[in-house]
């Protein structure tokens, strides 16, 4: 992924991202960018767990919702003014979401594969129902409004949200990278390939899975806090959105599950497209579902590897055909013994 773009290229992208809202000053487009970036952060977070371990979690909408509600409730209870202050509370919301993830994840991770999927879905529904039922805390189906931000004019309004979203996405990306290159991350990937074998070799599978799960909830929770603050209120149906997880799964899958940039690319493309079409074309709800669903199916059937891996595959094939390979030379075994072994070994071929 990042092998395709050298550090210079990445810096250019970063500069572009930072300059974006000034270059394209139209609130319509910056709004789309905010949604896209927040989904990118959430997708990255989801990928840290599901992409790396292979356990498909479909209940992360719960943590998105917890993040949103946490911020709304804090603003309401502590009479926080609209403006910059709520942004400082976003990491706290992430931690609250992570706290919910600990017991829910511990329970779900006692199971595997399909049962695991269903338990994550069930935990989502439980939290959604709680948001309806715990009226004292959540105000039930009426929801809670965020404090108004009157001091930001319409031209300025989107900017802080944009940068908050960008920072969140960059932190999520950095965390993914860090994990991927650490021993911990290798453990997660080993779990994906052969969990029992990984455990047998000393990987602490139980702890690793739970930690990854909690980290992913942390990012999804923060994305939820920022997005709901941007929208201006929290409500059970929208804040706890049952389509969230499948949307995120599609984004990550399209970008290339388990990769670093895949979730971000997938989210940027899909969410932007989704928001844009919602604005441009007044689809009735039925047509919208129909188009969305059909696109889903078309993409999955024709690009089963996801877009980024497919492109990478094509690129690799193209390069291979261009360089006119010579057959790889047959390997020699070790020389006269490797120093640490202190063994006199005969030269053998390692090729089988």
């Amino acid at each position: 992924m990042t092998k395709l773009l050298n550090p210079a290229g990445l810096l250019v992208l970063l500069a572009g991202a930072i300059a974006f809202p000034f270059v394209i000053n139209d609130p319509t487009y910056t709004t789309i960018a905010i949604f896209a970036l927040l989904f990118a952060a959430a997708a990255s977070g989801w990928n840290i767990f599901s992409g790396y371990t292979g356990y498909i979690a479909l209940g992360h909408a719960a943590y998105f919702g917890v993040g949103g509600y946490a911020l709304a409730i804090m603003c309401q209870r502590w009479h926080i003014q609209g403006g910059y202050t709520p942004f400082y509370l976003v990491p706290v919301c992430g931690l609250i979401a992570a706290a919910f993830a600990v017991p829910l994840g511990a329970v779900a991770l006692r199971t595997r594969r399909h049962t695991f999927v269903v338990i994550t879905v069930a935990s989502f529904f439980i939290l959604q129902l709680l948001s309806y039922n715990l009226r004292g805390l959540t105000n039930g189906s009426s929801g809670i409004d965020f404090p108004l931000i009157l001091q930001w004019g319409p031209d300025f309004y989107n900017l802080p949200f944009y940068y908050a979203a960008l920072i969140l996405t960059l932190v999520a990306l950095a965390t993914s990278w860090f994990i991927r290159n650490s021993k911990f991350g290798l453990g997660l990937l080993a779990i994906r390939d052969d969990e029992d074998r990984a455990q047998g070799l000393g990987v602490k599978t139980g702890a690793s899975k739970l930690i990854a799960f909690v980290i992913s909830a942390f990012f999804v929770g923060m994305a939820g806090a920022v997005l709901n603050y941007f929208i201006g209120n929290v409500q059970p149906t929208f804040t706890f959105d049952s389509l969230f997880d499948v949307a995120v799964e599609l984004m990550v899958f399209m970008g290339g599950i388990g990769s670093l940039s895949g979730p971000i690319l997938g989210a940027l493309v899909i969410e932007s497209a989704d928001q844009y079409t919602a604005l441009q074309f007044s689809f009735g709800p039925g047509l919208h579902l129909l188009v969305y669903g059909s696109l889903f199916l078309v993409v999955i059937l024709f690009l089963p590897q996801g877009i980024v891996p497919s492109i990478k595959g094509q690129w690799a094939r193209y390069q291979a055909s261009r360089s006119n390979d010579q057959p790889l030379p047959s390997a020699n075994g070790t020389g006269p013994g490797s120093p640490a072994m202190g063994v006199t070994a005969s030269r053998e071929e390692a090729k089988a």
Binding site: S182, K183, F184, L189, Q199, L201, P339, M341, G342, A345
Partner: protein, 243 residues
């Protein structure tokens, strides 16, 4: 001195008695062979020793301490490594990444460190050199040939510095050149003090490599001793031909 002892192990799967009062011992520093017709319980024995199955009865003793029914990671941490008949490596990880999965973790800082810069990297490369697959280090392990996967599995077991290595049919399905390589590596490591238990069907491999051979039949031991003795034992011949 017996490094590893199995005493009276029994294990049934449904109606099938895979191990029946089986007692086997491994002499320290020797290459022990384990042979027997199909279904004699060899792989089940491996599984109960290394924690992938639990015994119904019996004891397993390692270095004088009981390890009966320990979990696979506990067994591995004690210094007993094993390979599988159908190699169990991590196909989507590269060869060098596979090595690092098995490498010992040293606490929290060890886990968070970049694996490519860690101190195990040197050792991992050394071991890949030792089995001769270093050039493949950045290849996804799933793309390796069957023989190369066996070498990888062998190498990553070694990175944990085991005292005992249990090899489940290392010579199965590979060409003679590879078999010779494996044999020489096993001998080399044995000279450094590693004890081996090798399950094999390839009689020549077992007879030339092993110091001692145990024969199993129908879940229990029927003969034990130096290879030459065992191959002449009438009970052994009957077990193989009679069924």
């Amino acid at each position: 001195m017996n490094l590893l002892e199995v005493k009276g192990a029994s294990k049934a799967f449904g109606g099938i008695q895979a191990l029946s009062d089986c007692s086997v011992s491994l002499e320290k520093g020797k290459i022990n062979g384990l042979i027997g017709p199909n279904g004699s319980g060899k792989t089940t024995l491996f599984n109960v020793v290394t924690g992938y199955e639990k015994v119904d009865a019996g004891e397993i003793i390692f270095n004088g301490k009981p390890i009966t029914n320990a979990s696979p990671d506990q067994v591995f941490a004690l210094g007993i490594g094993r390979t599988f008949q159908l190699t169990r490596i991590f196909p989507r990880l590269t060869v060098i990444e596979n090595m690092h999965v098995a490498a010992q973790r040293s606490g929290l800082s060890g886990l968070l460190a970049r694996w490519s810069q860690s101190h195990e990297q040197k050792r991992a490369i050394e071991l890949l050199d030792y089995v001769g697959i270093t050039r493949l280090k950045d290849t996804p392990a799933g793309n390796l040939s069957y023989g190369q996967k066996k070498l990888l599995e062998f190498a990553f077991i070694l990175i944990a510095d085991p005292q005992v290595i249990l090899l489940d049919e290392p010579a199965g399905g590979v060409n003679p050149t590879m078999i010779n390589l494996l044999a020489s590596r096993i001998r080399g490591l044995n000279e450094l003090g590693i004890t081996f238990l090798v399950v094999e069907h390839n009689m020549e491999f077992v007879m030339t490599l092993c110091d001692r051979v145990t024969v199993m039949h129908r879940g229990t031991k029927i003969a034990e001793g130096p290879p030459a003795e065992v191959r002449r034992n009438p009970a052994v011949l009957e077990a193989y031909l009679g069924d």
